[in-house]
């Protein structure tokens, strides 16, 4: 017998697809969500006895549409709603079973992503909407993942959906000249979802993993539907290559493990293989962009069986390219770390010291490491302390404390020969 929790699981998996199709059919996000909710109620009543239908997605979409017709009939007060109900009713018997409406469901999902990530909606709401409508995450889960009270998140979602409705934000994939900017916004949202799941190393483990999985799923969907967009490919490659290290980057008690110190046998080989294959496709295409370059950098790291095998010359060259494209101090800091590996800590320190990043804990952590490698231990300890003051993350603070302890208990030059790569995650 089918348990309700299994039905819930199926609905969650099919939620994004179903809502995307129904938004097109019904022309309203709220109506689409209500209809899928109605279909869930019906599934809970029928599936335990009747069993799971052969195509749950088809069943959910057909049932949801029929429940939407019922609702419209019930609520029909004006001529417009009756007309809409009649219109929907018109093809109700056309294909009662399944199939026809599920065709092109991916296109509907792509339309919905572009609507959720429309630049007229603020970034935090874009992320929340995408997780809610495409990922099927509940409001409470999203609120929990982003550490905001549930009513705040509910309010954010209501406001964004209201704006889509009232300002008539279109439900379509933008064309031609508009596409590059709009795609950038979509990819940024997907990467934000991934990072939210990946960067926070403690607490709420399940939801965190869900965020990474959802970001990978969305990244894959976008790449498959937009095969001519190399940055979409680059983003998926980047997320795969980072995610491949997730089991190796924390200790059992939640501590942070730097790239150089990770047990590389814990890396997910299949994700690395897929990520590297995507990077190779990007290289062949030769239209580099920021995600592709970051993916390429991580592919080089993944190539090294041991940290000492890392091709730092290539990483330095890639960071040079990335810096030309995105001349930000954070990219420059990463480049300086690679420079220190190629030309030594003194060259790295010189490149770090000119950056205006005093507020950023990694700036101090990188400086501290370079000073330590130069044997300037007193300055290194001060820099580790400065880094500690600028992070709220317990795992990071513990890590820095460990470094300070190593420096104050061993003699100069005896400290661990690893680098504090800010990309080392």
């Amino acid at each position: 017998m089918l348990h309700i929790s299994e039905i819930g699981q199926i609905f969650r998996e099919e939620y994004g697809r179903s809502v995307a199709v129904l938004v097109r059919v019904l022309g309203s996000i709220d109506a689409a969500e209500d209809a899928v909710q109605d279909a869930f109620t019906e599934a809970v009543a029928r599936w335990p006895d009747a069993g799971k239908p052969p195509s749950p997605a088809g069943w959910i979409i057909t049932t949801a549409r029929n429940r939407a017709i019922d609702r419209l009939r019930r609520e029909a007060s004006g001529r417009e709603k009756l007309a809409q109900a009649a219109l929907l009713h018109g093809d109700e018997h056309g294909d009662e079973t399944e199939g026809i409406e599920v065709d092109g469901v991916e296109d509907d999902q792509l339309r919905l992503i572009f609507t959720c990530c429309h630049p007229a909606i603020n970034r935090a709401a874009q992320v929340a909407l995408t997780l809610k409508l495409l990922g099927g995450l509940g409001t409470a889960e999203i609120a929990h993942a982003f550490l905001v009270p549930e009513p705040t998140m509910a309010q954010r979602l209501v406001r964004a959906k209201g704006k889509i409705r009232d300002a008539h934000i279109p439900y379509r994939v933008p064309s031609g000249a508009e596409l590059p900017e709009r795609l950038k916004s979509v990819l940024a949202v997907v990467y934000l979802v991934f990072n939210e799941g990946y960067a926070a190393s403690s607490g709420a483990g399940l939801v965190r993993e869900d965020l990474c999985r959802e970001a990978l799923r969305l990244g894959r969907l976008i790449m498959e539907l937009m095969p001519d967009e190399p940055e979409a490919k680059g983003l998926l490659a980047l997320m795969l290559l980072l995610n491949a290290r997730s089991a190796a980057r924390t200790t059992s008690d939640g501590g942070l493990v730097l790239l150089a110190d990770q047990d590389r046998s814990l890396w997910y080989r299949d994700q690395i293989a897929e990520g590297q294959s995507l990077v190779r496709q990007c290289l062949k295409r030769n239209q580099p962009g920021p995600y592709q370059l970051q993916a390429a950098i991580n592919a080089v790291h993944s190539d090294a069986a041991q940290p000492v095998d890392t091709d730092w010359h290539q990483i330095l060259a890639l960071y040079g390219q990335l810096l030309a494209m995105e001349p930000t101090p954070v990219v420059a800091l990463n480049r300086a770390v690679a420079l220190a590996e190629v030309e030594g800590p003194a060259a790295g320190l010189a490149a770090v010291d000119v950056l205006e990043l005093g507020h950023y804990y990694l700036f101090h952590a990188v400086r501290a490491d370079l000073l330590r490698r130069l044997g300037r231990n007193t300055e290194a300890v001060a820099a580790y302390r400065a880094a500690q003051e600028r992070t709220d993350n317990d795992a990071e603070r513990d890590f820095l404390e460990g470094r300070v302890r190593a420096l104050t208990t061993t003699g100069p030059g005896l400290a661990a020969p690893t680098s504090d790569d800010p990309h080392g995650r």
Partner: protein, 116 residues
């Protein structure tokens, strides 16, 4: 079609130099004609500075009249369009052209209860 209000946000203070202003007025003429040709134009108008504003309130049948704009700010609405567009993307396209012509920020906001 939906209706949108395009408001021009203008900093308080003296008007731009004549040669700058002439260019803006010429660009606005071109834009208004383009809107008319596209069937998007409903209404447009420029306003006198916010210092010419007066606010009227009624409290318990008592009328209170105050000198000046409703909100104290460094910029106020300096003019507006009402346009028709099939969706927000098209309205934002007009907003972008309006921002280029006026060299000022444009707020695009949908009218309620208007859908044809």
């Amino acid at each position: 079609m939906s209706r949108y209000l395009l408001s021009i946000y203008q900093p308080d203070g003296p008007a731009p130099e004549p040669e700058v202003l002439n260019k803006i007025m010429a660009d606005l003429d071109v834009l208004n004609q383009e809107m008319r040709d596209a069937g998007a134009w409903v209404f447009t108008g420029g306003l006198h500075p916010a210092s010419t504003s007066t606010v009227v309130r009624v409290n318990d049948c008592e009328v209170l009249t105050t000198d000046g704009p409703f909100t104290e700010a460094k910029e106020h609405v300096g003019g507006l369009w009402v346009i028709e567009a099939p969706d927000l993307d098209v309205a934002l396209g007009w907003g972008r052209k309006a921002a280029q012509a006026t060299t000022l920020p444009i707020e695009v906001r949908p009218f309620a209860g208007y859908r044809e």
